[in-house]
Amino acid sequence: MTEVQQEREFTPRIVGFLCNWCTYAAADLAGSTKLEISPALTVIRVMCSSRVDHNLLLTTFFSGADGILIAGCHPGDCHYGKGNYYARRRYAVLKTVMEGLGLEPERLQLSWVSASEGNRYADVVNAFSKKIKALGPNPINRRRDF
């Protein structure tokens, strides 16, 4: 199918790594409040945002994810004390690398969503998938040389 068709029928494929204690809980809250949330996101539950390592993110990106969302407790709220601070630094490194290589760093986002913020969760996810939709598919999906 042509690029044009692709663009027309494009629903982004976003992978979201959510921390079990805050953001996953917020996602549940959003669900039980029946908020409408973009189907673009696939939720993957991890115990802590600090569990998400560079290899996992790179593989996800190079496997063609249109967007990657890492979401956990607000700084200071980490169930394990300081995990999200480390996550933030690791994220900053990868983000810098992607920026440096012009790899559309917008496709990688870190957000803090606490357990009581069901509405914020919906906003963050919907805004992100809107952004990704505007950005179009991850070009890697059309490359034969990768």
Partner: protein, 387 residues
């Protein structure tokens, strides 16, 4: 660097710098200020150099404290010597500043131990690319020696990263040998740590020489290099942009991973990207090929390089080994220097600056959102917008 207290000792170099350093090392062994020295020695075939650990003055005769080329990064040699902890032997190691900076990173990563090691650095005029040297050893020797004696880098003769190196002089070594801006036949021994001072003391070398001239020359050259460096690195960056840039840059990559295996910083027992975990599932490969209308082999080429950038660029010291090792002449070192500057700036970190600065990913600041990276701030603002 701009330490007014700093003093040095003159080092007689009438017969050339190499022999001056050799004499110094011999003296150190004689005064049993050290049990052995770790230095590069020209291979018997005279077409390369190898690191030698020796206490034999005769062998020392063949040593070349400042080798024209760098087949093995000194930090790697030091690692194989001390990775299991302190040896009992007190060893003096003479290395290029970039090798010492790599050693500092490996020290923080618990891959080298320095208690019994005395590090001696020297003003580096650069290293001859390995291929060039192997191609014409005699000529390279000549060119290098003249550079060294003139204390001046000949851009055409050295690695691209050396041309734009700003850490060519004093680093966190114990004793530094200053050359820049000094009249021929003379050099400076500059103690740079208690250990270094102790070494000179036991050897009965008093430090009264003024070092300001040398410092002046060094900082001038640094300033000049800084400009070129930024220019060169941004040029490299410009060529990398996007999948097209990356594809073009790494088109010839044969996936040999030499760049990783010679890298002093890549300390992993097995690179993650060589491990089973990183291998793609053959079925998945077919799926990808069908989905994308085709795919290149070996796969994950660019992911490998990107992954290394994420893993080690915070500690990269721009020594240029990776370029030397690349069989298809990809300017790996330029690329990683470019990335290293970006990632290290993110945490106001300078790889190998000293042995005390904690590794950025082992710590954090609670309120660093802005400082860490504006993009993190970006994310925060985005959320703020949602509130």
């Amino acid at each position: 660097m701009s330490d007014p207290e700093k003093q040095g000792a003159g080092l007689e170099a009438a017969d050339g710098i190499k022999s001056a350093v050799r004499d110094f090392l011999r003296k150190a062994l004689e005064n049993s200020a050290a049990d052995a020295v770790l230095v590069p020695v020209r291979t018997p075939a005279e077409d390369s150099y190898a690191w030698i650990l020796t206490n034999d003055p005769n062998l020392l005769e063949k040593a070349s404290p400042a080798a024209p080329t760098m087949p093995v990064q000194g930090a790697k040699a030091l690692k194989s010597l001390t990775r299991k902890g302190e040896g009992t032997a007190r060893v003096i190691a003479v290395m290029r500043p970039c090798e010492i900076r790599a050693a500092m990173e490996l020290f923080k990563l618990n891959q080298v131990h320095l208690d019994n090691i005395t590090l001696i650095s020297y003003d580096c005029v650069g290293a001859v690319p390995l291929q060039d040297y192997v191609g014409d050893p005699a000529g390279s020797e000549e060119r290098f020696d003249s550079m060294l004696e003139a204390r001046k880098t000949d851009a055409a003769a050295v690695k691209p990263v050396c041309r734009i190196c700003v850490d060519f002089s004093l680093v966190d070594s114990d004793v530094h040998i200053g050359l820049m801006g000094l009249a021929g036949e003379s050099a400076l021994l500059v103690p740079n740590s208690e250990k270094g001072q102790a070494l000179l003391d036991t050897m009965g070398i008093a430090c009264e020489a003024d070092v300001s001239g040398w410092m002046q020359a060094v900082s001038e050259l640094k300033a000049e290099r800084e400009g070129n460096r930024s220019e060169a690195l941004s040029a490299t960056g410009a060529g990398l942009q996007g999948l097209d840039g990356l594809s073009a840059t790494f088109a010839d990559c044969i996936g040999c991973h030499n760049c990783q295996s010679v890298c002093p910083i890549c300390y992993c027992r097995q690179c993650y990207f060589d491990s089973e975990a990183a291998r793609q599932d053959p079925a998945a490969l077919l799926d990808t090929a069908i989905a994308r209308g085709g795919m290149a082999f070996p796969g994950n080429k660019v992911m490998f390089h990107t992954g290394r950038m994420a893993h080690m660029s915070l500690s990269c010291v721009s020594c240029g080994q990776c370029t030397d090792a690349c069989p298809v002449s990809i300017p790996v070192a330029d690329i990683f220097s470019y990335m290293a500057r970006l990632t290290q700036a993110t945490f106001e970190y300078v790889a190998g600056r000293n042995d005390g600065e904690p590794l950025p990913l082992r710590q954090f600041k609670e309120d660093e959102v802005e400082k860490v990276h504006e993009i993190v701030k970006g994310a925060e603002e985005e959320e703020a917008a949602h509130e």
